[in-house]
């Protein structure tokens, strides 16, 4: 009897599995699905631990057209799930009715209104974060040590991402707008190895860096070297890099999905107070690894043969070529190193925060600010400049709203170009 019950239970589970997934897939199904919107509202209780998540029941959401006319409304069920059908594809605005939220559950200001657009036969996933982790706000100056600490970490990560971009620019003259995708790719590759294949991050990360280096070298061999040999102008090559960035970012979006994801390892750690700052153990590891990598880059450039050759080409490519340096070989090395470092930077960023398909593209802006500040094309300038930019972005939270902290990077960029266009460590060229 017990056996029979077990058997039935197994069948139930087996049958339940596919059914459940079929149900979940139905809204995004193509032919008869129509357009809709779907969301799961969960109170995260200010933590990342899934254990204490509480679904929000009976929360009302009203969907209006962009003109403000109500289309449809509904409430969440016991599991916090809401599913609404929409009459046609187009642009809508979802509004969470704040007065229907349970006591003590809040939203960030403005987060209750969410505009979105729905493609034909598509279901929009309404992703609203409730009760996200918030830091108790103390007086502004008290936050300074914490922000400086975060700034050191962020600055080092940007520096690692940007140093490859700057050396590539120095040796080939190309401003590579697809460098951000190298950064994302590193983190995404590590994520697949770590989460999909269950390889521990300590092993997955070096593998992903190798993949990143190989990708960098391959793009040079397949694309950039050929363009250089054909004498394609740098202007044209920049536009090619933009096309590559657009294509690669969207490929990453298909492969990786739209959501932000975290690694399996080192994800949740408990913070400790160290004097005025609060930090989790991985913060120190990130800083340590980043410093180690940057020292490695600097000593490679300074003392090894290939590093010296790299600097020689950055200084004067024609002179370097005529003194017997194989420029193509060195540039290939630079691309491999740049790809590997970008991957490392992406992984470090993803360990500290999370990774999304456009993480690298967002960082690209900051890398540009960093390498311009340091001096376009110089390796050490990129390090110094990126570090300053990372520090500025984090500490600027004292003065400006956090959501606008990246804006400060652009202001710095423009000011630097006005006052010292060659950057901190750049050499003045004959200009204008």
């Amino acid at each position: 009897m017990l056996l029979l019950a077990l058997l039935f239970a197994t069948i139930g589970v087996l049958a339940g599995g596919p059914n459940a997934s079929a149900e979940a897939a139905a809204p995004s199904g193509t032919s008869e699905g129509g357009e809709g919107v779907r969301g799961t509202f969960i109170d995260k209780k200010g933590t990342r631990a899934p254990g204490d998540d509480v679904p929000l029941v009976d929360v009302e959401v009203v969907i209006t057209t962009t003109a403000g006319d109500e289309v449809v409304s509904g409430t969440t069920d016991e599991e916090g799930i809401i599913e609404l059908e929409l009459p046609s594809p187009g642009e809508y605005i979802a509004t969470v009715q704040l007065d229907t939220l349970p006591e003590g559950v809040g939203l960030a200001e403005g987060a209750e209104v969410r505009p979105f657009s729905v493609d034909p036969n598509d279901t929009f996933r309404l992703n609203i974060q409730f009760g996200q982790r918030e830091r108790e706000t103390s007086t502004k100056l008290d936050q300074l040590p914490q922000l400086v600490f975060k700034g050191v970490q962020f600055g080092l990560i940007i520096a690692i991402c940007a140093v490859g971009l700057s050396i590539i620019n120095g040796t080939t003259g190309l401003v590579n707008f697809s460098h951000g995708e190298h950064v994302t790719w590193g983190a995404v590759a590590a994520w697949f190895l770590n989460v999909d294949h269950g390889i521990h991050l300590v092993i997955a990360a070096p593998l992903a860096i190798l993949i990143g280096a190989a990708t960098g070298a391959l793009t040079d061999m397949i694309l950039w070297r050929r363009l250089r040999n054909r004498g394609v102008s740098l202007l044209a090559m920049m536009i090619v890099s933009i096309g590559l960035s657009l294509a690669a970012r969207n490929v990453l979006q298909v492969v990786f999905g739209e959501t932000t994801k975290a690694f399996r390892d080192f994800n949740i750690q408990i913070g400790h107070d160290y004097g005025p700052i609060t930090a989790v153990p991985k913060d120190f590891w990130l800083i340590g690894i980043a410093i180690l990598a940057l020292v490695g880059v600097a000593s490679t450039l300074q003392y090894t043969r290939i590093g010296k050759a790299t600097r020689a080409i950055a200084d004067n490519p024609d002179l370097a070529a005529s003194s017997g340096i194989d420029v193509n070989r060195v540039v290939l090395f630079v691309w491999a190193a740049g790809g590997g470092l970008a991957a490392l930077g992406g992984i470090l960023f993803a360990v500290g925060e999370r990774v999304q398909f456009d993480t690298g593209f967002k960082l690209l802006l900051l890398m540009f600010a960093g390498i311009t500040l340091g001096g376009l094309g110089t390796a050490y300038g990129a390090l110094v400049g990126s570090f300053v930019v990372g520090m500025l972005i984090q500490t600027s939270a004292l003065i400006i709203p956090t959501e606008l902290k990246n804006v400060g990077a652009l202001v710095v960029l423009i000011l630097v170009l006005l006052v010292r266009p060659q950057g901190i460590l750049g050499r003045a060229e004959r200009i204008g």
Binding site: L234, V407, P421
Partner: protein, 337 residues
């Protein structure tokens, strides 16, 4: 497969308001990149300035619609001055970096919750162009010509829009034939040579940047007016590069290039988009052997089109930089710059 639907959609969009927006953005880029050799990677910033000047002017500040049109043009000039002042004395990659950053930054500021009262935040601003549609001479209802079918408001936007496209093209045609145009084209070929002739290169570049930016802002106005709605996230960086693809497709450095390019580009993207959707809906991809069954699902069609645009831009730039009917000499940009 409903081929009729696919062609109808593609044709309708190819001449519709969205093509006008791409065309105006690309005409602006043609002045900057095609003629002056300036790499503006933030045309979307000018679109944003045009769109939001009207939206915020009417909705937030209650100004007259036509006054806002004037303010939009003025704001575009100011933005061009801001971006050009620090960068135009430097190599053109600095302009590229600063403009791509400016485009993103403007979007981030516009969608920031902190200024929601002024900018509408991420929800944007709606219903601000009633004054424009009030003087619509076309009768209500849809108006079909052959395959294509437009609503009366679409027709009104298209009449004004294509009129503006024609006017900008005429202006550029005359400008480029003038001494001013010859200096600008000479700057693209060899900046130092022009400088040695005693011309103020910086000033000419600035004028080209302003002119292209203002035309881009006009495109932004059409973008906002057409839908009577503007949302910051519709102004992502990719919009700049759609315009670049259209420009290079049609032929940069030619007056009609960006217009033809915009029509062909919009037609092709709409065609691809609808075809892929039809393929997915009718499960045709599943019947082809060797293809993975989940190769493409409905909500990935938009992404797939962007991938194709990116690859198309690369391929164009590498194999046919002069586009459909450009002149190869016009796009030959000197090697190491």
């Amino acid at each position: 497969m409903d081929w009729r639907l696919i062609f109808d959609t593609a044709l309708t969009q190819g001449f519709g308001p969205q093509a006008i927006v791409v065309a105006l953005a690309a005409i602006g880029l043609n002045v900057q990149f095609g003629y002056a050799g300036l790499l503006n990677f933030g045309q979307v910033a000018f679109l944003a300035v045009g769109a939001y000047s009207i939206a915020m002017g009417v909705d937030t500040f209650g100004l007259n619609f036509w006054l806002c049109v004037f303010l939009a043009l003025l704001s575009a000039v100011v933005l061009a001055l801001l971006l050009g002042f620090p960068t135009l004395r430097l190599r053109t990659d600095y302009l590229a970096i600063v403009t791509i950053a400016a485009g993103e930054i403007i979007r981030l500021v516009l969608r920031a919750g902190s200024y929601r009262g002024t900018t509408g935040g991420a929800a944007g601003i709606q219903n601000f162009a009633d004054d424009f549609f009030e003087i619509n001479p076309f009768p209500r209802g849809s108006n079909g010509i052959g395959f294509v079918d437009y609503s009366s408001s679409d027709l009104w936007v298209m009449t004004v829009g294509w009129g503006l496209v024609a006017a900008s093209c005429l202006m550029i045609f005359l400008l480029i034939r003038s001494p001013w145009g010859r200096v600008v084209k000479a700057i693209r070929e060899d900046e130092d040579a022009v400088r040695s002739l005693g011309k103020n290169v910086y000033l000419y570049k600035m004028q080209a940047l302003i002119l292209g930016g203002v035309i881009g802002a006009v495109g932004g106005m059409i973008f906002a007016i057409d839908r009577q709605s503007i949302v910051p996230d519709s102004l992502g960086t990719q919009r700049t590069f759609f315009a670049y693809t259209a420009l290079i497709l049609g032929g940069s450095g030619r007056v009609g290039g960006p217009v033809v390019g915009a029509i062909v580009f919009t037609f092709l993207t709409a065609f691809t988009d609808t075809t892929l959707r039809e393929l997915v809906e009718n499960n045709i991809l599943d019947k082809i052997p060797l293809l993975p069954s989940d190769l493409l699902v409905a909500n990935e069609v938009g992404i797939a089109v962007q991938i194709l645009v990116g690859l198309g831009l690369m391929a164009l730039m590498i194999f046919r930089p002069q586009g459909i009917f450009g002149d190869k000499r016009e796009v030959a940009i000197s090697a190491r710059r």
